[in-house]
Amino acid sequence: MVHVYKGSLIECDPPTKQFVLWISKQEHFDVIDIDETHLFLQGGDERSMNAIQRRLDELQNENTYSVFDKDVDK
């Protein structure tokens, strides 16, 4: 019996994929692992996509050092 899932395909690089997998456990949405660079987000609604994007942005910000944006970050 073939299983059918509706949602969205996420394509990204391997580290980002691992990060999304980690988020999915915390934010409680289901993903199906396809291969190194692809994930399938079940039920892909706006909420989960925004959540992923938001967490990703936070991660980027944490790992960037910027001299002139010091006053903005702190």
Partner: protein, 447 residues
Amino acid sequence: MKIFEYLSSLSQNELEDLYQDQWTCKAILRTLPPRAKQYILKMLMIDYPIPISSAKEWTSSTSMQTHKEALKKLFDLKIILLNRSYQQSVSDSIRLNPIYQDNIKKSLADMNQTVFTTQKETNKAPTIEALDAFSKSQWEKVLYFLSDEQTKPSPLISELLLTADLTKPDNGSLSITSEGFKFLLKDVYTQIWTLLIVYLNNNTPEKKKDLLTFLFKLSFLQLGKGYLVSNLNDLQKELLMDLKQFGLIYMVSNQSVAFYPTRLIISLTTGKTLSLFQNIAAEREISQKEQGYIILETNYRLYAYTSSSLQISLLSLFVKMLYRLPNLAVGIITRESIRTALIHGITADQIIEFVRHNAHPNAVNNGHPIPDVVAEQIKLWEAERNRIGYTKSVLYNSFPTTDCYNATVKFAQEQDFYIYSNDSNKTLIVNENGNDPIRTFIRRNFG
């Protein structure tokens, strides 16, 4: 170019209506790339269709791609008509649209071409610098309103901005949309055409045609000369008032005898700023004032030699401004400032194009209008936000047999639903539209 897209969107009947006027045909000819212009001239005196293969002989063999593109442009504008031949041995033939052809021929044979009657030379005529200053200030008023919401534009302009989706109503006042941001960074001719197209579409079709013809006629006028208003018809007089608000023509008052075209309207159809080679010394000074003002350094610092609040507020869309001096504004491009711009909907390409466009002549002459480092970094910051690609789709896995899987993949590829598949997991991902067809396929063949 904006005008080309607009014209291509009209129907054949509308275009042929437009081509009834000589000046329109000539103005449209000028907007075409050089190759297309030469093709039109070659076919001008031929009244019968010629095979497409003979058109290939006009061009060198290495530039076939541009040859096809030029022909396509002419087809889109319905300047060339294609006669498809349904026989194997006879190739398709092309010929110039007879209406267009006739009008161009007439205008070539006409030795006394005047668009509108000129006014006699008077001392009260505004100088070219005054005209340039007027058109600049008028147009900037429009842009100020977009970027800075405190100035109040005329009702016509605000209505146009709303219809063009550049502003949206927001708790009673208007605020700028992401389209509006992109609009601000484009060059002035694209901006004017965007608003003009909205203005034209607001009118009835007959009026639209007359207005377009009038606009094209205006591009043939000479800068610095006055033209009598009395010889225009009522519709054109009405349009004059509106064009004054855009800064395209200048009139001393609404009851003036004469109107003066500005550089903007004359350059409008070609999209290149007219330089008026005849008056070269004055030209050099004028064009220097309006030339680029931005110097961008490899340490991400940006120096803008301008005192115009408009330009500074445009820059602050994506630059963190640090200091403001009487003739200079200093800022720095940071990750945050670019991210704010990106979140508003501006793309990295637009930012880079804007800086390159307005680069200071010193920077241009030294060969580096925008340092590669900074350009790459802006693109990288944009890519940072796009690490993940989303595609709405449907996933199939747990196929009973490998054959079933392979057949379904093949079916999906043939029907154009296929997005991705993984052979080791036997997982297939297809388009949303493909869900039902694929389910029926599986049920029918393997159910």
